[in-house]
């Protein structure tokens, strides 16, 4: 068996654990997977009611502005949070057979990504209802998703690694998520940020993916080259960093689970 076929063998398992995670998430809920569509819709509705009066003049089509930020942030943040438990949550498998451990991290990111894809239904519904520009530029979305996926995977690798050794990270991550959410300008326009603090936002990788998504879905334009280049750099760097951190520690996981 070539090594490629060998890897391919594990993709059947990847598919099964992704299905398991999705099934478990909606275990015994009446609406099941419909919640991935309803959840962003309802959150958007609540936020739109609260914030639309505040920022009405600054943002055109606030619901789409909000949804783009929310979906992208949820995906990247969710990948990290899921990644934290990728190794510890699958200890039962890691203890009994040899299986490449990146499969578990990959599965968690795929689960978050499937959520993102389902939520797109909500986005499309709102785009139609609010009369957002539906243009050919939407075809650039898959490129953005590939970049965001690379970033999320690298991010998840890092948290999967350290989350295995330090369980405290699970608690810290919640606090971190909150901070991250507020510097991702999901609910408010970036223009309200005083220039002195703008650099904090520019350093936030998530914001670049969100900005690209807004350009495509809210403004109906092609994202500008500068932001694409920055986003690509973040994606490649994060993925390389994640893989190298994970690979340097993965042989020790068994002792900590």
């Amino acid at each position: 068996m070539t090594s490629f076929e060998n890897e391919l063998k594990y993709f059947g398992f990847l598919k099964e654990i992704v299905k398991r995670d999705i099934r478990r998430k909606y275990y015994q809920s009446v609406l099941g997977v419909l919640w991935t569509v309803l959840n962003p819709l309802l959150t958007m509705l609540v936020m739109a009611i609260i914030f639309s009066t505040l920022f009405r003049r600054n943002i055109e089509n606030y619901p789409i502005y909000l949804l783009c930020g929310q979906l992208m942030y949820n995906f990247i943040n969710g990948a990290g949070r899921n990644g934290l438990g990728a190794i510890t949550g699958n200890a039962g498998y890691i203890r009994i057979v040899y299986i490449p451990k990146y499969i578990f991290v990959l599965s968690k990111v795929v689960v978050a990504f499937v959520d993102l894809l389902f939520s797109l239904v909500a986005l499309i519904i709102v785009m139609i209802f609010t009369g957002a520009p539906i243009t050919w530029n939407l075809l650039a979305l898959p490129v953005l998703f590939v970049l965001a996926f690379m970033f999320a995977l690298g991010w998840a690798f890092i948290f999967a690694t350290y989350g295995t050794f330090l369980r405290d990270l699970q608690h810290l991550y919640g606090i971190f998520s909150m901070l991250w959410m507020w510097v991702s300008a999901i609910f408010y326009p970036l223009s309200i940020i005083p220039p002195t603090y703008r650099f904090l936002f520019d350093l936030n990788p998530a914001l670049h993916y969100i900005t690209i998504m807004r350009a495509i879905c809210q403004e109906g334009v092609m994202p500008d080259e500068k932001s694409l280049v920055i986003a690509t750099c973040y994606s490649v760097l994060m993925l390389i960093m994640g893989i190298s951190v994970f690979r340097s520690k993965e042989n020790k996981f068994l002792l900590y689970i």
Binding site: K9, G12, E16, Y98, L166
Partner: protein
């Protein structure tokens, strides 16, 4: 192609007990301050060497904590030895007492596909063999019941049925047969004998020297991570029984 299925050469396995406990930040910092981080070594195995020929059966006996399971995990490739080398040839089907890989909230049916995929079998293949697994495990009435409601006997029957589904080159079994009732034990021993006669190599671990005697030609005896004795299973088991009586 050699005629050796498993070769273990001068294998030692060290665990750092103090490092394994640092799950909490507080403890980590305290240990760091006390400079205790890198001490407290524990050698689970020391300088173990043995060889199993293709088609051979090797039993491993020893008291609790003698390093039997660690040794199996090394052979299965789940862990890497601190020193020495482990060489295996062919596909490995591992069966461990400490876990079956089942997810309690999923039904028997869902678990069969999940664990089947874990062992690298495709979905279409598992579909073809599904009825056979259920029949062997005697779980016809429990296909759609979550595994958390199963008794330990039912769980281990299912685990055994999946792991021994195909003819593998090396079967690693860790006290799996201890849980089932006498009838199932007989059936599973038959299946193992069948696999053996088809050329599989078996590595078998048990507290019960009776089973080792019955299933294995050769045996090794581990005590506190050291190889005490190796030879024909009857002799090793006799010596081990003698030791246990003391």
């Amino acid at each position: 192609m050699s005629d050796t299925a498993i070769r273990v050469e001068n294998v030692s396995m060290m665990f750092n007990l103090s490092r394994e406990r640092e799950e909490r930040l507080k403890e980590y910092v305290i240990n760091l301050l006390k400079h205790k981080l890198f001490f407290d070594e524990f050698w689970a195995l020391r300088d173990i060497s043995f060889e199993v020929k293709k088609g051979g059966t090797l039993g491993i006996v020893g008291t609790n904590g003698s390093g039997k399971t660690t040794l199996l995990r090394l052979v299965a490739g789940i862990m890497k030895p601190t020193k020495g080398t482990v060489y295996t040839e062919g596909s490995i089907a591992p069966l461990f007492a400490m876990g079956t890989g089942f997810d309690g909230s999923l039904t028997a049916k869902e678990n069969i596909f999940l664990v089947g995929a874990l062992h690298g079998y495709s979905k279409s293949y598992m579909k073809k063999r599904f009825d056979e697994i259920i029949e062997f495990a005697e779980l016809q009435d429990f296909v759609d019941v979550p595994v958390k409601n199963f008794s330990s006997g039912m769980t281990s029957r299912l685990a055994f049925a999946i792991a021994t589904l195909v003819q593998t080159d090396i079967l690693i079994a860790d006290e799996v047969l201890a849980v089932g009732d006498a009838k199932f034990r007989k059936k599973s021993e038959e299946r193992m004998a069948n696999m053996r006669s088809n050329g599989a190599t078996v590595l078998f671990v048990s507290h019960s020297s009776g089973q080792v005697r019955r299933i294995c030609q050769d045996a090794i005896w581990l005590d506190h991570g050291k190889l005490v004795m190796a030879g024909p299973s009857a002799e090793v088991c006799a010596a081990y029984d003698e030791f246990c009586k003391q």
